[in-house]
Amino acid sequence: MSNRAKAFLFSTVLAAGVQFGGLGFAFAQDTLNNVSYDPTRELYREYSEHFAKVWKEKTGKDVVVSNSHGGSGAQVRAVVEGLPADVVTFPLEGDILAIEKAGLIDAGWQAEFPAASSPYTSTIVFLVRGGNPKGIKDWNDLVKEGVQVITPNPKTSGGARWNYLAAWAYELEQTGGDQEKAKEFVAALYRNVPVLDTGARGSTNTFVQNKVGDVLIAWENEALLSLKEFGAGEYEIVVPSLSILAEVKVAIVDKNVDAKGTRELAKAFLDELYSAESQKIFARNFYRPLYPDRVDPADLKSFPEVKLITIGDVFGGWEKAQPEHFGDGGVFDQIYSKD
């Protein structure tokens, strides 16, 4: 038995050694880490396959893209704490500004890619249950008593911040610019939220799979995807009278690519986002392409007409809106801790 025990010990140690050797081999390939936000799982799965083909044709080399998804606020935190992202693809400028502030991305990244590094956009709509039993038509229906609203936590989710700002902008327009009224309106809305998930996909799962709530404030892409996957009878999209243009931002994480020597690969990955083929991938996955003329007109039909305001017009950009509304002790903290 003692010999068997020895043999057992020896073989486990050997197995561990072989595994580690295998690992070293795996690292010899081109790898790229794309750290992204919650609802882009399906999008970047398709895009990564597309990019691997493009890169192979261009350089003859194989590339393996690792995508990481979660609430963008939480993802930003991970990158700042050292998650080795080569590129980041986030739902709002404020997220990337936070990484810039941590010294990982050089200032001026907005000018590195076309359209202020914003290859596609989206907006915020409502998803309600089939037949719209609560009769939800616009933002003011969300503050009514007895309506349960599902939206993620603006502290950890970028999409949730767009939701919050869109609601704020709606009430501003209704009251002719009364900031106090807007604050009360948004506070009333969050009183109707039974659960704050950390990311947009978490909220969608709460609404769709766990069947909690009457209305989901959702990314347009997330709402359209839910309709496609679960059938039009189960859910309906309600387009509010006003929403916000969600400008998605992408950037190279300078410090990480310089350390790893992957700048060229990272740049190619983000450049390719602007090609006609990629723009078609966005439209197919329900993101609004930057160049609508380069995609199938059929894929554009699913995007409803919405009156869109921008964060620059109404809130003075992310540099101002981020600390004011979502910083520690900001407006969200004030309204959410009140009750």
Partner: protein, 296 residues
């Protein structure tokens, strides 16, 4: 440590209780119902969901590079964590059971720490201690090029932490019970330290060691919380099977749902294999088992 097979056999032959048969029947029925509802049905659901779109769809999961990488990483993590904890467990149990030194009881409590600390807390502490922008993490990364957090070593480390007590916990009570008599006899007959260990101590504890290793292995492959915090969820790189199951589950493609449950079925299958090995060994070596436990 009680053995279900042995006690069941004893009970049938000389039942010390005198309950009427309806009471016995009710107790047995209750046990069966609870086990069925809480354990068997959920397990069946996993397999039913996995095969929801047919066996072909379920098998196609294993052509997805992310799933393959997750399985590979999980096996790698177990292959490192289990031997590490085995060696540590033997060493710790030896020290605690065979020597007398101040702070022994405290040391046992410390070994139990991973049982009582939430795995998420453990993960966060490692991120704050070894992250690339902390002093230790930066030194490892810049001087040695070793990335710990958000990389494979961190996943291994978290798993070792969580599964730390399993082997030691199985061995300590047994070795304390057995005392040092056998070793003293061996040494007085001229055996060296290593000989004593290989020929006396190890055979005495091999069953407890095996249980510890099996439990440790099951937990190492199933760990979610600590690994979730440390991995950064880079698909195909730092995602283990439990994390990949959650990622699939959160995707909206019908295929992803099948993939989630196919992978869950593999994980459940590995647990069942572990259980089967344990039961088979118990059955096969029942006599030896009874002998080593005589003094227990």
């Amino acid at each position: 440590m009680s053995d279900p097979d042995l006690s069941a056999a004893d009970a049938a032959q000389l039942s010390p209780t005198t309950e009427a048969w309806p009471v016995r029947a009710a107790l047995i029925a209750l046990t069966i119902v609870v086990v069925a509802v809480l354990l068997v049905v959920p397990l069946l659901v996993v397999f039913v969901q996995a095969l929801g779109l047919g066996i072909g769809a379920a098998l196609s999961t294993f052509r997805d590079a992310d799933a393959v990488a997750a399985i590979g990483l999980t096996l790698l993590v177990a292959a490192v964590a289990v031997p590490c904890n085995m060696i540590f467990g033997i060493a710790a149990a030896w020290a605690i059971a065979k020597y007398r030194f101040p702070g022994r009881a405290f040391l046992i409590t410390l070994i139990d720490l991973p049982f009582s600390v939430s795995p998420v807390v453990a993960g966060l502490v490692y991120v704050l201690l070894l992250g690339p922008f902390t002093p230790i993490g930066a030194w490892l990364l810049e001087d040695y090029g070793v990335r710990v957090i958000f990389a494979v070593p961190g996943v291994v480390l978290a798993t070792i932490f969580v599964t730390f007590p399993f082997v030691a916990r199985e061995l300590i009570p047994l070795m304390q019970d057995q005392g040092t008599g056998d070793e003293e006899a061996a040494i007085s007959l001229g055996a060296s330290g290593w000989q004593t260990f290989w020929y006396v101590t190890l055979p005495n504890v091999k069953w407890a060691l095996l249980y510890g290793v099996l439990l440790c292995n099951a937990r190492a492959m199933g760990e979610f919380g600590a690994v979730a915090v440390i991995s950064g969820k880079l698909r195909g790189e730092t995602v283990t099977m439990p994390l990949q199951i959650e990622l699939y589950y959160q995707e909206f493609r019908a295929m992803a749902q099948v993939s989630a449950f196919s992978l869950a079925a593999v994980l459940a299958g590995l647990a069942l294999v572990t259980l089967a090995i344990k039961s088979w060994l118990e059955w096969r070596y029942a006599d030896q088992l009874a002998a080593t436990r005589a003094g227990h």
